[in-house]
Symmetry: C2
Subunit: 260 residues, 2 copies
């Protein structure tokens, strides 16, 4: 029987709130067993781009990563945010170690091909690009890897990569080696049956139930890509996906997605 | 007999010149055996502070690291510079892994006490603050640790720390475990007998010769702190200190400092 491994993903909302981030890191230090943390970036990078007079370029709501933008997001994600999280976990007695995808060749991605849109220095990835051996060594040494959303192409180029995708790809790549639970942490307590009622958290969701709720339009549209992604991870061997509040990860209120 | 270990230190000059940095990284990839790289920061952090309207505060030529400055130097040193170096080494086929002092609790420092001057978020360190176990694990796994000049205090605070000091402190802390050679790489070929004659490189320098040359005023004043520091490392068990050109580390022209 493989060991259990929990992969937590946090997003920009909590990174922008130091007091909330500290609550999350303290709660994370109380979660037993081996863990990996994946984090996105907050609005700091956008604020700095603006302060430097670099206008964000968006196509259909997705940022174009030109060279100047890549520099700034690398500074924020791999520098400030990653090191503040690592130092914050060390404060809680957790031996965290921060990584970009270039470090130890952890995540090798491909620059997204230019089609109608040139997204610039953006990386797409597959499980084959994950250096699971390094992660297993670090976890075996009692470390908590903290992964930011910067990858590389192996040819010296850093690439900006979606943090949700990194978390689910890590989970899929590690599924042959661990019983992986993937925890998406955000500002709500889980998947809500009624988006206006924070108490309407679904405790459990199977693919069948999800299809029914999707068809009836009960689940908020914004949750659909995350849930599609989550069920794809379950189908690919991840044991469990949990959708929960970043401030309450040790509470029982959450949505657990199960393969059946 | 302990294994050999080479610790290389590069400074801001080469970091500001991408083409030169690439030459250094390629040459570094050709150096056999286990290695550690320590890097300072270039002028990018100062440029950005200026662009953001944050005036550098200097006392006796030393920067005061206030909270805003710490954020920027963390972004540059631990983010942009560290990850560009790591990605550049990966391109050369070297499995580099970037670290701040917070990562894996690699370097725990003390915030410099406030006396007549408050240097702000600056860290002072001793060999006791170095996690030699982590470095030995990473080196044993075939990785090349790339250390930036950001440390932490273990209580969640990141600290700006002198890169020369980090390199010599790492060398001293690792001396019981390896035959350590500490390589200070800069823009000259070594210690010059005549600062105006680039060909006047001293091939070898013992403490006795150094004291004679120091007394006669032959060595450039700017080299004295570096050399004092280097001989202190030799006295503390480091096998060899090398002063050499960052662009020519595999050439034979260099100054080798020996204990006797």
């Amino acid at each position: 029987m493989n060991d259990a491994l929990k992969i937590f993903k946090i997003g920009g909302g909590i990174i922008d709130e130091p007091a909330q981030l500290r609550v999350f890191l303290r709660e994370l230090s109380r979660v037993p067993g081996p863990k990996v943390l994946v984090h996105g970036g907050g609005k700091g990078a956008s604020d700095m781009l603006r302060a430097l007079g670099i206008a964000p370029q968006l196509v259909d709501g997705r940022r174009i990563t030109d060279a100047a933008t890549l520099d700034i997001v690398t500074m924020f994600y791999a520098g400030k945010t990653n090191k503040q999280i690592v130092a914050g976990l060390q404060r809680e007695g957790v031996n965290a170690l921060g990584l970009s995808g270039a470090d130890g060749n952890l995540i090798r991605a491909q620059k997204r091909p230019v089609t109608e849109v040139d997204y610039g220095f953006v990386g797409d990835l597959t499980e084959a690009g994950i250096n699971t051996g390094l992660l297993r060594q670090l976890l075996g040494a009692g470390l908590l890897p903290v992964c930011c959303a910067i990858t590389h192409d192996g040819q010296g180029q850093l690439l900006n990569t979606n943090a949700d995708t990194i978390a689910s790809t890590l989970a899929r790549a590690l599924a042959p080696h661990y019983r992986v639970a993937l925890h998406y942490c955000f500002e709500k307590d889980g998947v809500l049956l009624d988006v206006n009622d924070p108490a309407s958290v679904l405790p459990r969701l199977t693919p069948g139930q999800y299809q029914e709720l999707k068809a009836s339009g009960a689940i908020a549209a914004g949750m659909l890509p995350k849930l599609d992604n989550a069920f794809a991870a379950l189908a690919a061997g991840v044991e469990q996906v949990v959708i929960e509040n970043a401030l309450n990860i040790n509470e029982t209120t959450k949505t657990v997605l199960c393969p059946s």
